[in-house]
Subunit: 306 residues, 2 copies
């Protein structure tokens, strides 16, 4: 659905890793694309309070420059998504401050992630460091999408237990329902407006699809995230629930790419156009999400044709 | 390489989840296929001491029935792979009791895993339960393959740091080396015999490749494991190191499949041939691993043709 068609309805964007890099560009781009026609609430999640201040300032500047008629409201949510001991309570806090009934459309951009250890799979860092990487890049990311989907997706109480599982899946002794699940599915009445307007965007990577040497931990995390969101898409699609996009933003000029390059290499790649402007990739990501020109659950790369 | 060619050389099998189900069948099948020509050491890892006793008894019965000329030695390693607070120390203990220089061929079957929560992705269990599932099915499994590869794979000290990373990967601002890594790779002298005989088998699932409703957590775990082992395969292949197999054993008649069926359904599926005998799948898994008729890093399903 085109944002124009939603004229007047309030939009929500919840984005993680919003203090810098791609996450921040997504927040800015969302305002550029939505605020000319609709009021926008942004919920920006990141560890750094000062980073969130800075991101808020630039979002507000953009809002002022386009004279957003419906207004742009930013809420800063400084918290550490990698702190699993407090993640459940922290996210309940975030969602308790969101009234889902206010929104015509809600979008999650599940962007936060870390580079982690780069090195051969036979020489990981300590288990503690590796576990932190998996906690942050996998467990916390999946948990957030699950919680967002619980609030903004279609509900399927009949499928919430394992009792409905039947059928045959060719794997380690386990089975799964391919048909029973769909037939048992019924959208409950307590969904927010038209939940099919709501979107979960998982920030993915080419590394989710292809193995690259020395990227074992990072690639595994991205593969797990892609698969979880593919399952979510399949479940929601069968009852007209939210749509899901796995978006790989391409090699960008962010702090993450800077972290793995020498200063000279970064400049060289920047000059030679090997690095994409993060804003350009964010523009495509937000456009895809808002206009829905993707198959729910699919993996879309920046370099893929629209 | 055919086991016959290794006549006389000692074989090692390290298998997790060895007390029952597919893991136990793999241990038994390994003895059947290898012990007629080669001495075999089995290291059986599982939580249950009594389960390990029982598995040991049946392995010893098989060894006696084929009059294994070189002998079959079993070491029971009772430990909880899901206990990440002690995993590092527990596995160091296991490896400290293995002398890698004794073996002509070493095989890891990274089998342990849990079904976890079956239900829609928008309704996960508590974060604590979900985290335990990810800890066990992803973090501990990847850590074990990493440690095994450190002991039995080719070493690449030049690649152990992130300094060698360059090149371009189309993803979230990050880059990866596709060429530099390979050219920098050199097998060091401290490898065990011919490391190219050594094998890591990751027990995978069709769920690693395809999204099935209500299987979000399990599928994500299997996708992460497949990808990590694909990366490991790519790294080791470039220097003639160990081979890696992602093996999906098909829907078997194990406790795991029993857990997700009613008693009647289990019997019906068993009678109608929807469930594969775990021993039959284990036979194929061990044969593939020993004879090496697979592309390293590939995903092989029980139903795939040999």
């Amino acid at each position: 659905m085109d944002p124009q068609q939603m004229n007047g309805g309030r939009f929500l964007l919840l984005v993680t890793g919003a203090s810098r890099g791609f996450g921040r560009c997504v927040a800015e781009e969302f305002v550029r694309q939505v605020a000319p026609a609709n009021p926008v609430d942004l919920v920006l999640v990141a560890r750094s309070e000062t980073g969130l201040e800075s991101a808020t300032d630039s979002v507000n500047e953009i809002a002022a420059s386009i004279n957003a008629p419906g207004g742009v409201v930013v809420r800063k949510e400084p918290l550490d998504l990698g702190d699993l001991d407090h993640l459940e309570a922290n996210l309940e806090g975030v969602f308790s401050r969101i009234d889902p009934t206010r929104y015509s459309r809600a979008v999650l951009v599940n962007n936060a992630g870390s580079l982690g250890h780069i090195g051969v799979a036979s020489a990981l860092p300590s288990l503690a460091a590796f576990r932190s990487e998996m906690d942050f890049n996998i467990t916390s990311a999946l948990w957030l999408s699950s919680r967002f989907s619980a609030v903004f997706g279609a509900k399927r109480p009949n499928l919430s237990s394992g009792n409905s599982v039947e059928g045959t899946l060719g794997e380690s002794g386990a089975d799964v329902d391919k048909n029973g699940a769909t037939t048992a599915a019924t959208a409950s009445a307590d969904t927010v407006h038209d939940v099919s307007n709501n979107i979960v965007v998982n920030i993915s990577s080419l590394a989710a699809l292809q193995p690259f040497e020395t990227w074992g931990g990072y690639s595994s995390g991205k593969a797990a995230r892609d698969m979880f969101h593919r399952v979510l898409a399949t479940e929601q699609a069968s009852i007209g629930g939210l749509k899901v996009l796995n978006y790989a933003p391409g090699p960008m000029n962010t702090d993450m790419s800077r972290d793995i390059r020498s200063a000279e290499q970064f400049e060289e790649d920047l000059q030679s156009g090997k690095l994409i402007d993060a804003r350009v990739s964010a523009e495509k990501c937000v456009r895809l999400a808002l206009h829905g020109t993707f198959a729910s659950g699919s993996h879309v790369d920046f370099f893929d044709e629209d």
